[in-house]
């Protein structure tokens, strides 16, 4: 089966996964991605998912650098993301997915005390806006899932 007609164009010309990983920062994140890549090994499907994710991360970091050139925005955005992900943490844990301990994420965020709490509350407000989109996400996924299930069933039957 050819890939679904929904996706991305081929890899960015002249780029490679390794080159993009080298461009990732903070350093802890780069190390995590490299370690994961090593562990995934020859699992091509998982490797391609990681590769797609890294490509997006790489692009997002370049975009962040352009938005506020005088500030290390990629790191700041990563920090904010780490705080927002705290809101996701407990939900995922209910499904047996254990993320890094909260303390570790807080360290990533580089925050402590009142500064951290203030930022966390701000991110919680964003999270609440995301929750408002829940129904849209569910309905959209149902449509995609229906098509995907049909395509996969046909391919496997052959």
């Amino acid at each position: 089966m050819s890939p679904l007609p929904l996706g991305r164009s081929p890899e960015i010309e002249g780029s490679s996964l390794e080159r993009q990983i080298r461009g990732i920062w903070p350093r802890d994140v780069r190390r995590e991605v490299l370690d994961l890549l090593h562990k995934i090994g020859e699992n091509e499907a998982a490797r391609e998912i990681l590769s797609t994710t890294v490509e997006r991360l790489f692009r997002a970091q370049r975009q962040a650098e352009q938005l506020f050139p005088s500030y290390t925005l990629p790191t700041a955005v990563w920090q904010l993301g780490s705080i927002l992900i705290l809101s996701v943490h407990l939900l995922l844990r209910q499904h047996g997915i254990h993320l890094s301990p909260l303390e570790e994420l807080a360290l990533w965020a580089g925050q402590s005390g009142a500064g951290f709490i203030g930022t966390y509350l701000g991110m919680k407000q964003l999270y609440n806006l995301l929750v408002e989109q829940r129904r849209w996400v569910r309905d959209r996924w149902e449509l995609i899932k229906e098509g995907l299930t049909g395509q996969l069933s046909k391919r496997i039957e052959k």
Binding site: V29, T52, L57, L84, G122, R140, W141, L152
Partner: protein
């Protein structure tokens, strides 16, 4: 919302890959970070130019990283454009990214991985709420 994305899409996709639970979790974290980073960038993009300049100037004067993060957080939350930016991100960019990952999987999956993914999709209970 993230719960749905995880149980319905990302969870089955990573499980179908056959990764260990711990590696599924680690890859999930990176994926969610990318989603959140892009969401934050989308909101910043939606800021009016004048507000962007104001934020840039405040960042330049900030004393420490805590203050910088506070400036950014306030800019993200206070903007009247935030809700619009979030809608745009979820309804366009997020699904594009999710589809990219599904395609990345399908392009490289073994027949066993594909079958596993199909089984997981079929066994994931529907969460759609079509009633008003």
């Amino acid at each position: 919302m993230f719960e749905d994305i995880h149980t319905q899409i990302i969870g089955p996709l990573l499980e179908a890959c056959g990764l260990e639970k711990e590696d599924q979790a680690r890859l999930s974290v990176i994926i969610y970070q990318v989603i959140i980073m892009n969401l934050i960038l989308k909101i910043l993009e939606y800021l009016p130019e004048e507000k962007k300049r104001e934020v840039e100037s405040m960042l330049a004067k900030a004393k420490d990283d805590n203050e910088k993060l506070k400036i950014l957080t306030d800019a993200l939350v206070d903007s009247p454009q935030t809700k619009k930016a979030i809608e745009s991100y979820i309804q366009n960019d997020l699904f594009k990214f999710l589809k990219e990952m599904i395609n990345a999987f399908l392009k490289n999956a073994t027949p066993e991985q594909e079958k596993r993914f199909l089984d997981l999709l079929k066994n994931t209970p529907s969460v759609s709420h079509k009633t008003p």
